[in-house]
Amino acid sequence: MTKAKIDGEACKGCGLCVGACPKKIISLSKSKINRQGYFPAEITDIEACIGCALCAVMCPDVCIEVE
C-alpha cells in the first residue's frame, strides 16, 4: 500500500499539505520542533492514508514522498 512520508526536518510547517489532504489526517505538530525551528507537519493516522499524493503536490519544499 502506498503511503505518504513527511521529512520532518525539511518541513517548514506552512500547513499547505494540511489543507490539501482529502482524508484530513495531516496536522502540524504541537510538541515537536525541528532543527529549523518550525513545527513540522505530521501524519496522525498513517493507516487512513490512501497515497493520493495531493499533499506532495502542494508541498512547496518538496519534503513529502509517496511510495
Binding site: 506552512c14 499547505l16 502542494m58
Partner: protein, 249 residues
Amino acid sequence: MAVFHKTKDLTSKPFHYCPGCTHGIVHRLVAEAIEEFGVSEKTIGIAPVGCSVFAYDYFNFDMAEAAHGRAPAMATGIKRVHPDCLVFCYQGDGDLASIGTAETVHAACRGENITIIFINNGIYGMTGGQMAPTTIMGQKATTCPNGRSGINGYPIKICEMLATQEGTYYAERVSTHNVKQVLNAKRAIKKALKNQIDKKGFSIVEVLTNCPTNWHMSPQDSLKYIEEKVILYYPLGIFKDKDAEVKNA
C-alpha cells in the same frame, strides 16, 4: 512503487523561501517537466533578481544569473548561440514586469524561441514588501499602506499585453492556489517548453503565486486571497495560442 518522489533535476539544497511560498512548487513543476522531456543535459536556465535569485542553486541544470530584468535578453543570446539547447527564464514580477519590461516585450516582438516562466505575486518580496507594478488595486504594501489607489497607477497585465504581439506564440496565466490549479500549471509549463522544443517560438506562462510574509497572511489565507481577489483582476486562461489559431483557420 514510488508514486511521488523528488525529481533529480532539483538539487538537495533546501529552498530558502519563506514557509508556504509557492515558489517551491513552481521550481518543482519546471524541473519535473524538463525531466519528463528527457532534455535535462541540454537545458540552460536563466535566474532572475528577486526572491528567486538563488534559483541556480536549486535547479540541477546549467544556470546563468542575469542582471536585474535582463533574463530574456540573455536567453536570446544563449538560444541563438546554442539553438539545440532548451533555454528558459524564471522571473518574478519585480524583475519581468518592472525593470525588465523592455527586454520582455522586445523578446516577444522578435519571436525569440525561448520559454519564460513568470511568477506574479504582486509585491516586491525580497526587498521587504514594496508595491510592484502588478500589485492589485486596494492591496496594501509598505509604499501604499492604505492600499493601492488610482494615484499609484494601475496594475500591468503582462499576458494580455504580450498576447497582442505578433511574435508571441503562446501566453497563458495559471495559478497555484489549490491542487487542481497546480496540476494545470504543470500542463501549461510543459506546453510552453514543448513549443520551444518544436521550434515554434516565444512562450510565456504567468503563474499567480502568494507571498504570505509580505501580504501579512498565513499561507492558507494567502492562497484564499489569490482565489478570491487576485484572480478577479488577473483572470486565468490562455490568451494566445497559435496552435489553436492554426486549427481554427
